[in-house]
Symmetry: C2
Subunit: 497 residues, 2 copies
Amino acid sequence: MDYIEGGWPYSNPKDYEFFRAMKEYSLTRAKLAAFGSTRRKNVRPKDDESLNSIIKADVPVAVIFGKSWALHVEKVLETTWEENLSMIAESVEYLREHGMEVVYDAEHFYQGYQEDPEAALASIEAAWRAGARVVVLADTNGGTPPHEVYRITAEVRRRFPAMALGAHMHNDIGCAVANTLMAVAAGARHVQGTINGIGERTGNADLTAVLPTLELKMGFRVLRDEPPPVKYSRLREVSRLVYEALGVQPNPYQPYVGEFAFAHKGGVHADAVMKVPRAYEHIDPALVGNRRVFVVSEVAGGASVVVKAAEELGIPLDKRHEAVRKALDEIKRLEREGYSFDLAPASALLILMRHLGLYRERFRVVEWRVVTGPSEAAYAIVKVWVNGEERLEAGEGVGPVHAIDVALRRALTVSFPELRPVALRDYRVVLPGSVKSTESIVRVTVEFGNGDRIWRTVGVSSNIVMASIKALVDGYDFALQTKELKTRAVENMWKRS
Amino acid sequence: MDYIEGGWPYSNPKDYEFFRAMKEYSLTRAKLAAFGSTRRKNVRPKDDESLNSIIKADVPVAVIFGKSWALHVEKVLETTWEENLSMIAESVEYLREHGMEVVYDAEHFYQGYQEDPEAALASIEAAWRAGARVVVLADTNGGTPPHEVYRITAEVRRRFPAMALGAHMHNDIGCAVANTLMAVAAGARHVQGTINGIGERTGNADLTAVLPTLELKMGFRVLRDEPPPVKYSRLREVSRLVYEALGVQPNPYQPYVGEFAFAHKGGVHADAVMKVPRAYEHIDPALVGNRRVFVVSEVAGGASVVVKAAEELGIPLDKRHEAVRKALDEIKRLEREGYSFDLAPASALLILMRHLGLYRERFRVVEWRVVTGPSEAAYAIVKVWVNGEERLEAGEGVGPVHAIDVALRRALTVSFPELRPVALRDYRVVLPGSVKSTESIVRVTVEFGNGDRIWRTVGVSSNIVMASIKALVDGYDFALQTKELKTRAVENMWKRS
């Protein structure tokens, strides 16, 4: 990355903290930039708190926004167009005099241009003549359609062939990524965006889509140094990191990096993609650190997915086998009850194994109770049948589900020490029903890992504790059931056929 | 809408059911369409099960897809290009002979065109000459950038000026909406998409963004009959209906219809949008059935949001008032603990009212216990202090949160009959922390309504039951605290200042 814009020090003390904290890091490539507005009306730059806060951030680059649209100058700033031009020029000059590189963001440029092209052009010319390193055309309200972005950017390009142009797009009509690409197609060579498109209202241009498209499909060199196949191989990881830092659930449908970005559902696509990946995949998912996923669904072709997943475990399957058909019928029935196996194939595989006679019961939860109260602690009692014996264990946790998990692990690890390295990696709750209330059906999805591999299970109930127990039990059970599968499955399978 | 494509009867018995069920409805505008592929290789159309299943669906329109890309013909179908052209032409003719209007989807058209323009053009010419009503250019892998979609669509237009063209776009590089708009800008006059963009992988073109943009920003008449201001006024409602039918949580960042599509956070925008809405809104939110929202945030300008919300309740506030500043400090502190008031302003307002002395304690939860077990039932005991007395009540529910809600209502409605019409409308659970496990912090958001108005509250704890109780208590408390506010608030406020 060339620039990292770290915040608006004038508007938020936390953003100041960021610049202060960053002093401890030496960035090898990116330059840090502080954001702000042009000076206020009728104030000298040196007396403007906002401009001085940018200088005080002590970074090499300033990004300042100014007005290109008469409506804003008259109604929001309540000043004259002449004063607006001075505000732009003097602010850029002032920051330049303090040794900063200045990126000028022309706020509402496209709307301003549509109402008065000459005025909008004059506003960016003022910034450019004052020494801005790049003039960024912003679609601040996010409402400009992509063909208009192209037309207007191309006209600016023709009018100012030497001006370095950038693009800053918002997603209000769902076109932030495309508008950025269209601006580049028309001559812009600097793009602004955020990882995962996170930003106010509907968000900004999502760099996880803009960057690989520019590089892999439009022939630009965007990130420096590494050759293309390496460059984006950690893109999914970067996307996840940002979601985790923000405490936001990742969008599974996100282009390039989403859980489902390369998911194939249904027979035709799944069959074809196994033959010729290029036939139904726009890029190799590994290029962006993602992977191909086959999802179980109610579509008849879902069979091929269970078959594929089973094969990975060493269970060769025949789709026409009656046991397979019965397993798929059970999966479909559970889906109608609120289950979803798309992200929890381990629970679907347990169903399949039961039908195929590959399942041997290792343990069973016979009874459980949870008690909780206002101390934020919860207590659980679990009675588990293991190898013909019943074992009663207690657990204490921060909430009912945690307490149950503690008791369950205690009860199981005595007999199955191989479960000790099994860790919970993710726990999600959704209400899949159409009406959401405290009586709703709850779907819990749990991700497990043991260092070697990762698997996911699902449980559904109107009682969140019950739904959680179902998913937890499937998770530990899956670890036990599949442990010896490769060595054992094949003979067993054919014995029954 | 002109067409509703109801499914692929050959691939899925549920889709057959749809067409059968639809016989009971008479559509006034839209024509129903059944989907399928061209005939298989080396089979006569009348012996092709897939084509016959389309006829059997007994609807006026057939949508069939065929191949435009040599890779697919050779590697997936494993046949010759000549046979491919016959498959296309004969399939269109066969369906036409059975009285159907035929929409031809040219699968992978853009990729086929990029590799061999003449072959791709020959494939759509075959469909057109055979009598297709419209030829739909599909970006099946979703990887074509918008300027390429424009270039290729415009070339097709030049080559076949009389051909009716359509667009079918996927979102794999985040451009499905924009690519649809670019195809229309280049001459397409038929668009395919789905409500909310729901579709495989990263989804299809989202009609809730495509339609209003074509109509409100590009000057097309898309939906029939109603004049523009009426047409889209239920767009948000349609979007919600589809999410609810699918049991999927709405995307709050969705263009036009999302919860945050017209949300203003931070001082500059919030202040300006109140002065001149057009300054920061690309359309009037009411045009698409949405509304402007001010969100509380850690950005200093968040003050104006609380102030605005308070004003709606008849509490005139001064941002510099010390009590207001203290309330905002508490809100910021809670946000660092995992609270989020963006969607739960009622909980933020209760904090504000406490600091302003506008809060009078009406009840308090003194004690509670929940017991649950494998019967999917849960039992709760709640002790509530109401008007100087303690009241103990029990509740039974389908899960622990439901049981608590039942007990709480029992305890409160005796003293506060005005709470009887208060109903829970929505209940959501997210894990806002960066690590998700059974020990995670849980954030519960609850939506309440009483017929007159709707309010939302939030609770956070690592114990999901505790988090739920906090949100429930705030919900009932808010109803009581704000009941007489307009009459009482103003004097009290100034007495204290």
